[in-house]
C-alpha cells in the first residue's frame, strides 16, 4: 500500500512492558514477578454465577450503560464504601475493564490541544490514551522522597490555562503509593480553584493496607468534576472477565455512553451477571485475598531491608518499587541482567514513565514460595553486583 497509516498512531511508542515481554518469553525456567494481575482464581461462587448465566441462555446484549441490576449494585457499593450517591440510572456506566473507561473518559473531555496532567510512574495507558484523544499529556514526575504521592506544589506547577484534567492513579500501579485524606484535600482545593476535572483511577481501592481507601470524589465540591473509575479485575481477581465501570455527573457519563454504545455496544453479559454476585457476596473473598497480599507485602519489604535495598513502604495495590540506583545501571539493564543471570523477571520502572528510572516494579501477586525463591535469587544477584562494584573501585584506586 502506498497510503500511509494514521500518523497519530504511528507516533505512539509501544509499551515498555511489551518490549521486555518479548525477551522474557525466550528464556526458560523464569520466575516471574512481572504480572499486574491477581494470582487467585475468581472466587468459585462468582464463576458459578457466570456459568449459571450461560446455562440460562443469558447471552443477549445488555443495555448500553450495563445491566440495570449491576448498576444498582455498583451504586450501593460506592455508597457503602465512600458515602457517595451515584444515581444508577444516569451516573454509572459499565465498561470493558477500567481501561475502556480511561480511554472514553479522555475522549469526551478533550478538545484538541487541551492538557491532561498525568503523574508518573503510573499505569502505561494514560499517556498514549491522552495522545489518542488529541490531548497534550503533561507529566508530573513523582518523587520517592514523597513516597510517590502527588504534592500540591507539583500540581500547581503543572497547571496551565489549557489544563482540562488531572489523572489521579491511587493506589498506584507500579509504586504501591496511596493518597491519604489530607493529601487529597489539598489537591481538591487546587482542582476546584483552577476549575479542572479529575479522573480518579481507583482500580486498586480495596487493596489498601493501612487505612481504608478514600476517593477524592467524596470530598466537598468534587463529585461534579470527577470521573471515578473502578472495576472487578483486581478486587475480585476477575481480570479476564474484562469488566470495569465509571461513575460521574450525568453530563459526563451520558457522553461516555455515546462512545461506548457506538464502539462497544455493551460489556460482556456473562461477566456482568457474575459481577452482580461479586458485589453482593464477595466481601469475604476480598478480605481473604487482601490479608494474603498484606502478608506477602511485609515479607518482601523485610527481604529488601535484609538485602539493604532502598524501598519505601507502599500501602496499596500489590507492588513494591525498590530503588536500584546504587548499582549504577539503568532499570532496563538491571532487569535484563537479573533475567539473564538469575532468571527472575521484574519490570523496569521506566516502563511506567521516566521518573520510574532507577526502580523496579516487583509484583507480589505470587505465592509465598514463589516470592521466597525469587528473593533468594535476587539476593545472589545483588551480592554479585556489589562484589563487581567493589572490584572496580579497588581497580580505580590502584591506578
Amino acid at each position: 500500500m502506498t497510503k500511509k497509516l494514521s500518523e497519530k498512531i504511528l507516533n505512539i511508542k509501544p509499551s515498555g512492558i511489551r518490549k521486555f515481554f518479548d525477551i522474557v518469553n525466550e528464556i526458560e525456567g523464569v520466575i516471574s514477578l512481572g504480572v499486574g494481575e491477581p494470582d487467585f482464581d475468581t472466587p468459585w461462587h462468582i464463576r458459578d454465577e457466570g456459568i449459571y448465566a450461560l446455562e440460562k441462555g443469558r447471552t443477549f446484549y445488555t443495555s448500553n450503560s450495563g445491566l440495570k441490576e449491576l448498576r444498582y449494585e455498583i451504586s450501593n457499593y460506592i455508597k457503602r464504601t465512600q458515602g457517595i450517591n451515584y444515581n444508577p440510572e444516569q451516573e454509572i456506566i459499565v465498561t470493558i475493564g477500567g481501561s475502556e473507561a480511561i480511554d472514553i473518559g479522555f475522549r469526551i473531555l478533550i478538545n484538541d490541544g487541551d492538557e491532561i496532567i498525568i503523574p508518573q510512574p503510573s499505569y502505561v495507558s494514560y499517556e498514549p490514551c491522552a495522545e489518542l484523544a488529541g490531548a497534550k499529556p503533561v507529566i508530573i514526575n513523582l518523587k520517592a522522597e514523597n513516597e510517590f504521592r502527588l504534592k500540591p506544589e507539583e500540581l500547581i506547577n503543572a497547571i496551565t490555562p489549557r489544563t482540562k484534567l488531572l489523572v489521579l492513579p491511587f493506589p498506584n500501579n507500579p509504586t504501591g503509593a496511596v493518597m491519604e485524606k489530607e493529601d487529597l484535600e489539598k489537591i481538591a482545593k487546587i482542582i476546584i480553584d483552577n476549575d479542572i476535572y479529575v479522573m480518579s483511577d481507583e482500580i486498586y481501592s480495596e487493596l489498601s493496607y493501612k487505612d481504608k481507601h478514600i476517593s477524592i470524589a467524596s470530598l466537598p465540591g468534587m463529585k461534579e468534576r470527577t470521573i471515578l473509575i473502578n472495576g472487578f479485575s483486581k478486587t475480585y481477581a476477575m481480570t479476564g472477565w474484562r469488566l470495569g465501570y465509571a461513575c460521574g455527573p450525568e453530563e459526563i457519563i451520558s457522553q461516555m455512553i455515546k462512545i461506548h454504545q457506538y464502539a462497544i455496544m455493551c460489556a460482556p453479559t456473562t461477566s456482568q451477571y457474575a459481577a452482580v454476585k461479586a458485589l453482593r457476596d464477595g466481601a469475604e473473598d476480598v478480605e481473604m485475598m487482601k490479608q494474603a497480599y498484606n502478608q506477602r507485602r511485609k515479607f518482601l519489604l523485610n527481604a529488601f531491608k535484609e538485602m539493604n535495598i532502598e524501598c519505601f513502604e507502599p500501602y496499596g495495590a500489590f507492588y513494591v518499587f525498590p530503588s536500584i540506583k546504587e548499582f549504577g545501571m539503568s532499570s532496563e539493564e538491571f532487569a535484563q541482567r537479573l533475567l539473564e543471570e538469575e532468571k527472575v523477571a521484574a519490570i523496569p520502572g521506566n516502563a511506567f514513565g521516566d521518573s520510574g528510572e532507577g526502580y523496579l516494579r516487583i509484583s507480589y501477586a505470587y505465592s509465598l514460595d514463589n516470592l521466597k525463591t525469587a528473593m533468594e535469587r535476587l539476593k545472589n544477584f545483588v551480592a554479585k553486583l556489589r562484589r563487581e562494584k567493589e572490584k572496580i573501585n579497588q581497580f580505580k584506586k590502584s591506578i
Partner: protein, 160 residues
C-alpha cells in the same frame, strides 16, 4: 493476631517462626508464645502432613463407617465414642445428626483388615446396633486441598 495466625498455619504449618513474624508484623517471640499458648489451650491439636497416598506405591484403604448405637444412661454417646476412638486404626469419630449416630473413619492396608475390624471389634460392642461401611474409591479434595495435579500459573509472565 491469633485469628490471622491460625488462618495462615491452618493452610501451611511449615512456615517458620521468622517468616510468620514478618508476615504478621510482630516479633518472633510473640509468635512463639502465641503458638505455645494455642497448643496448651488445646486449640492447636497437632501438625499433620497431607499426603496423597495414591501417588505412592503404598497400599491404603479408607472407609467411612456409619454406626447406630444406643446411648448410655448418664454418658450419652461419649462412652461408646471413647470405646471406638481408642482403637489406633480409627482415624476420626464424629457424632452426627440424622439417620445414624457416629461416623467413624478408618484406614488400613487392605479391605480384609477393615472388614475384620468392623465384624470383630466394632459390631461386637454392646451398644452398637448396626453399621454400614463405605469404602473410599477416590479422593478428589482433602482438608480443603484439591489433590489432582497442581495448577500451572497460566498468566502471562509479564503484564501491565
Amino acid at each position: 493476631m491469633r485469628k490471622e495466625l491460625l488462618a495462615v498455619i491452618e493452610k501451611n504449618a511449615r512456615i517458620g517462626l521468622k517468616d510468620l513474624a514478618i508476615m504478621l508484623g510482630v516479633d518472633e517471640i510473640d509468635i512463639a508464645n502465641e503458638l505455645a499458648a494455642l497448643e496448651k489451650e488445646g486449640i492447636i491439636c497437632g501438625y499433620l502432613t497431607l499426603i496423597d497416598w495414591e501417588k505412592t506405591s503404598i497400599e491404603k484403604v479408607t472407609a467411612l463407617i456409619e454406626v447406630r448405637v444406643t446411648p448410655q444412661k448418664g454418658e450419652g454417646f461419649d462412652k461408646i465414642a471413647e470405646r471406638i476412638y481408642n482403637y489406633p486404626e480409627v482415624r476420626d469419630v464424629f457424632l452426627i445428626s440424622g439417620g445414624y449416630d457416629l461416623l467413624v473413619t478408618i484406614e488400613e492396608k487392605t479391605l480384609r483388615e477393615i472388614s475384620n475390624f468392623v465384624s470383630d471389634k466394632l459390631s461386637t460392642l454392646d451398644s452398637v446396633l448396626s453399621t454400614a461401611t463405605h469404602f473410599i474409591l477416590k479422593r478428589y479434595k482433602d482438608h480443603g486441598t484439591i489433590l489432582s495435579n497442581k495448577d500451572e500459573d497460566e498468566r502471562e509472565i509479564i503484564s501491565p
